[in-house]
């Protein structure tokens, strides 16, 4: 809700200023926006579908069951992969991580889950590719996944 209010007030102010400065340029901005939105529509729909499917299949309970059933290195890799695939709102993700800690998951496993969860966006990848290109998306997410594993290992050593 806060997001929506912020974005719409920003849009309102920008539009007023823009219209006062030049009507033509404002209309041109609308044209650019409309075309871009149409172009992104298929990838937006794809993202919506994938989000629904992953959240429908990989519920918080399923995830904690999966991660809880494994131990050691495999649990960490599994946690990293699950974190990369799912797109869970932080209000759900962090309590889940907290409950995993209580049920005995190691710091490395939790860090791997949390870090890939926020750094790697598998479900949003179709949209990222559409807007920023394949190379950029693959590199950003691939390097992010590697970095998440390294971060998890370092956190295991420190904490």
């Amino acid at each position: 809700m806060a997001t929506i209010i912020t974005i719409y007030s920003l849009l309102g102010i920008s539009l007023i200023v823009s219209f006062m400065k030049s009507k033509d340029k404002t209309l041109k901005a609308f044209k650019v926006a409309g075309k871009a939105l149409l172009k992104s529509a298929p990838s937006l729909l794809t993202v919506l579908g994938i989000v629904g499917l992953t959240l429908g299949i990989l519920t918080p309970e399923t995830i904690s069951g999966l991660v809880g059933a494994e131990a050691g290195f495999m649990a960490t890799i599994l946690a990293a992969v699950l974190g990369a695939i799912t797109l869970i709102p932080s209000l759900v993700a962090f309590p889940l991580a907290g409950s995993l800690v209580r049920s005995g998951a190691t710091v490395v496993t939790i860090s791997a889950f949390v870090t890939t969860l926020v750094m790697v966006g598998f479900v949003t990848a179709p949209m990222e590719i559409r807007i920023l290109g394949k190379k950029f998306t693959l590199l950003r997410n691939g390097l992010g996944f590697l970095a998440a594993l390294i971060i998890a290992l370092i956190m295991g050593v420190i904490l």
């Binding site: 929506i4 974005i7 926006a33 992104s40 298929p42 949390v114 920023l132 190379k135």
Partner: protein, 187 residues
């Protein structure tokens, strides 16, 4: 035919949904509920975001962005990107069109990786929740390590990609205009 190809992935997903509805109706029900919820959110957020990006495309001068966030912007550019990313501003997919616009206007790849990364991983409201459930040491160390990692990822991508990005955000005619402009500034 071209229209069908464009919607190839949405159609595949629709087929998966139909399959689920036949064999696993409870999962199909849950998934469609989630999709519908996110659809409502996106329907509200995406149009204004794209209009804002359109306005930015038209109004914000290239040299300003280059100066603040370009290759020569140094630590200050990095800090601006970090600050922009950590602000409480909503889901990551909002940041993609913003990143594309900023890259086009001359922001450096390193700064944009910091921007996207902090948007996803270091958002202030999200950190609050993290502290509550995982504690300050965990959150603090993750913050620092993530920031260091983002800078490294940015620098690696900067050297690998330079300006060869396949950005598809703008309609092609504007892209061509951009190429001409970029050709000029490169000289």
């Amino acid at each position: 035919m071209k229209q069908v190809k464009k919607f190839k992935f949405p159609i595949i997903i629709l087929i998966i949904f139909i399959g689920l509805a036949i064999w696993y109706p409870s999962i199909a029900y849950k998934s469609s509920r989630v999709t519908l919820d996110y659809f409502k959110e996106m329907a509200f957020i995406m149009p204004p975001v794209f209009i804002l990006m359109g306005l930015m495309e038209i109004w914000v001068p290239k040299d300003k962005i280059q100066k603040w966030l370009g290759n020569g912007s140094g630590i200050r550019g990095g800090l601006i990107s970090l600050a922009l990313g950590t602000l409480p501003t909503g889901p990551l997919y909002v940041a993609f069109p913003m990143t594309a616009t900023l890259l086009r206007k001359g922001a450096s790849i390193t700064n944009m990786i910091i921007f996207l990364g902090s948007w996803a991983a270091l958002k202030i409201p999200q950190l609050m929740v993290e502290i509550k459930f995982l504690g300050i040491p965990f959150t603090g160390i993750r913050f620092v390590l993530t920031l260091i990692a983002l800078i490294f990822i940015g620098l690696i991508m900067e050297s690998l990609l330079r300006r060869n990005l396949g950005m598809a955000w703008l309609p092609p005619e504007n892209e061509e205009m951009m190429k001409k402009q970029m050709g000029k500034t490169k000289m």
